[in-house]
């Protein structure tokens, strides 16, 4: 069950991974939420992180984004060990997370949310709201040209617009590593399309993306590899070209690699 042994063969000749998760474990009381989990992510690659509810995906992602500390194991970014004690540490390491809940303050407008925790300030230290609005307009119009009314509380925005704000927040600060937790779960077909296109565009720019999704179809469309978890443990990592959706479903449900399952 060790992580190293199950690495997909094609990744060995690609140099240093952008992110390496090495034998990470996390317990909550007596529950092993994640145990001895290993996986990796390369530049310009999308890795689908799959598993049932409670498989440990969210816990792993929360450790990577600095919300919880891990009990054991290491995270490496570009081959360097990083210590992710707070969300700030994760951001400093170039890791941006789009949480499933989006983590937006509903009462604040789009620029306010985009820069939350990293506000642009004037020379005297006050909020530079005009510049933040200007910058927010630029990045948001790049992602979603129809989205103009950015100065109202995000509460009154559509699901796709809220998603755009969350993605814009992750991109503005030049993230190299993007974690997207169920980015399309609450979206309609057109908005899902927009997010999928964004993922493909970001991949072109060389950003590495961990994509968590229950929608196998979406994952197979954009991902290069899939990493499957069950009961907090790694089941396996496969290139999407080497396996069928049914194979991956088997890994999720049975917790077995396709070759052995047959």
């Amino acid at each position: 069950m060790s992580g190293g042994a199950t690495m997909s063969a094609s990744t060995t000749d690609r140099g240093t991974p952008l992110v390496e998760v090495r034998n990470i474990s996390k317990r909550f009381g007596g529950v092993h939420a994640v145990s001895n989990m290993s996986c990796d992510l390369y530049n310009g690659e999308v890795v689908g992180l799959l598993g049932h509810n409670g498989a440990g995906k969210s816990t792993l992602i929360k450790m990577l984004s600095g919300v919880y500390p891990q009990d054991e194991g290491e995270f490496l970014v570009n081959g360097q060990v990083v210590h992710l004690h707070t969300p700030r540490d994760a951001r400093a390491a170039g890791i941006e997370t789009i949480h499933q809940t989006l983590a937006l303050a509903d009462n604040i407008d789009a620029p306010g949310n985009l820069f939350l925790g990293r506000e642009l300030r004037t020379p005297i230290g006050t909020l530079d709201s005009h510049r933040m609005e200007h910058e927010a307009r630029q990045i948001i119009s790049r992602l979603n040209p129809n989205f103009k009314e950015i100065l109202k509380p995000v509460r009154s925005m559509s699901g796709g617009q809220r998603q755009t704000v969350a993605i814009a927040r992750a991109l503005y600060f030049n993230a190299r590593i993007l974690i997207m937790d169920e980015p399309c779960a609450a979206l309609g077909p057109a908005e899902t399309r927009m997010v999928m296109d964004t993922i493909l565009a970001l991949k072109q720019e060389g950003i590495g993306i961990f994509l968590i999704s229950h929608d196998m179809h979406d994952v197979f469309e954009v991902a290069d590899r899939v990493t499957v978890m069950k009961n907090g443990k790694l089941v396996g990592t496969e290139n999407v070209t080497d396996v069928s959706q049914d194979d991956v479903l088997g890994m999720i449900i049975l917790g077995k690699k396709p070759g052995k399952a047959a």
């Binding site: 939350l116 509460r155 009154s156």
Partner: protein, 386 residues
């Protein structure tokens, strides 16, 4: 809200046969509003951040007693700078108590309701213990002016100058905002709306200054024995300073932005890397310092320190904040709104005194107003889909 205030004023004006809207009564009203309004400004931060502080009335008594004690029994009330030291000690105590309460809330995870309910009991007791229940009086004569009583206003000339400065600032601010928005090509409000807004603000400032200047000072007459106007009361200036600083902090600084972000979604604030513990402790410390400032105005006005001051004040402060549009669900509220809320409460109180309504009946009426305001808040939030 402003509309509600205007209606209340007109109704009181008619029912008191024109006594309510006289310079004399309005001067008194302006002073009566200050203590509640100063604390309500801080309560906006507390409630916006989904917290509550029930201890502010007791803390007012505690810090007020300590200020009076230091001023009279430690330094001596004839010292020229002693009263300044006593104010600093009082505010420092308010901050310390706020940090104490905030730490229990954030580090120990005890709800603010419980921590500050305990504080409500403790600080009232502490206020009693300082002098074993004895009143401290008289206070320093210069300090006494901070209460807005005799000599507690700044005179007509200074008031007019301040009014003009305020008017210029309003105009400059509107112009500057337009210029900034133009620079970044943002949407502009129509010129006529902007001009109307500025004009209304300027007229309101002029009316206020004129009214305060029209109240003849009972203590001073000019060389010919004619009465001279008092001008703006010093407590009002303290309140305006608090309003300006806290509005600025709320709208233009990171701290203010984080208070609102935390109130809107605590999890989002945490995930954005905001130090939410430090944030909440700072909010309680701010509230504590404002309780101490309100204690200065209260003790100066009474020219004494007594352990019973500020009784039920916490309820008036919370009521003013909520009437002023701050949502108990968090994330929503304004400083000027809270001041108007305080003005509504003290207007009703003041007007009912003029109408000879008993204190018991006044309490019932203000209680009903509070329910009405929260009901309005609930309906409004439902409409907004919160």
């Amino acid at each position: 809200m402003v509309l509600a205030l205007i209606v209340i004023w007109l109704v009181l004006q008619i029912s008191t046969d024109g006594i309510f809207l006289t310079p004399r009564n309005l001067y008194n009203l302006s002073i009566q509003t200050c203590v509640t309004a100063i604390m309500a400004c801080g309560m906006v931060y507390v409630i916006v951040a989904r917290q509550i502080d029930l201890s502010v009335g007791s803390l007012l008594a505690f810090t007020g007693m300590v200020t009076a004690y230091v001023q009279v029994h430690v330094i001596g009330n004839d010292s020229n700078i002693g009263w300044i030291v006593s104010i600093i000690v009082g505010i420092a105590l308010g901050v310390a108590v706020g940090i104490f309460q905030g730490s229990w809330v954030t580090l120990a995870g005890i709800p603010a309701f419980v921590v500050t309910l305990a504080g409500y009991l403790m600080y009232r007791g502490a206020a009693f213990l300082i002098t074993d229940g004895q009143t401290i009086s008289p206070l320093n004569p210069t300090y006494e002016r901070l209460g807005g009583g005799i000599g507690g206003a700044i005179g007509t000339t200074a008031s007019t100058v301040l009014g003009v400065i305020a008017g210029i600032w309003v105009i400059f601010n509107a112009y500057n905002t337009r210029r900034q928005r133009k620079r970044y090509g943002s949407n502009q409000t129509p010129v006529w709306a902007e001009v109307l807004k500025v004009a209304v603000a300027c007229v309101a400032i002029a009316a206020f200054v004129w009214t305060m200047n029209s109240y003849p000072d009972p203590a001073h007459k000019d060389a010919d024995g004619n009465p001279i106007g008092t001008g703006i009361g010093i407590p009002v200036l303290i309140l305006i300073a608090v309003m300006i600083v806290l509005t600025f902090v709320a709208t233009r600084t990171r701290f203010g932005r984080y208070v609102f972000a935390y109130g809107g979604n605590p999890e989002a604030a945490l995930l954005s890397g905001i130090n939410t513990r430090r944030l909440l402790i700072s909010i309680f410390a701010l509230m504590g310092s404002l309780s101490a400032v309100a204690a200065v105005v209260t003790t100066a006005r009474l020219n004494s320190g007594a352990n019973s001051i500020g009784t039920l004040q916490e309820l008036y402060v919370i009521a003013a904040t909520v009437i002023g549009g701050t949502s108990l669900a968090g994330g929503l509220g304004t400083i000027p709104g809270a001041v108007i809320g305080a003005l509504i409460i003290s207007s009703l109180d003041n007007g009912m005194v003029l109408l000879d309504v008993s204190s018991a009946q006044r309490q019932i009426f203000i209680g009903l107003i509070l329910i009405g305001a929260v009901w309005f808040d609930t309906v409004y939030n439902k409409r907004m889909g919160r």
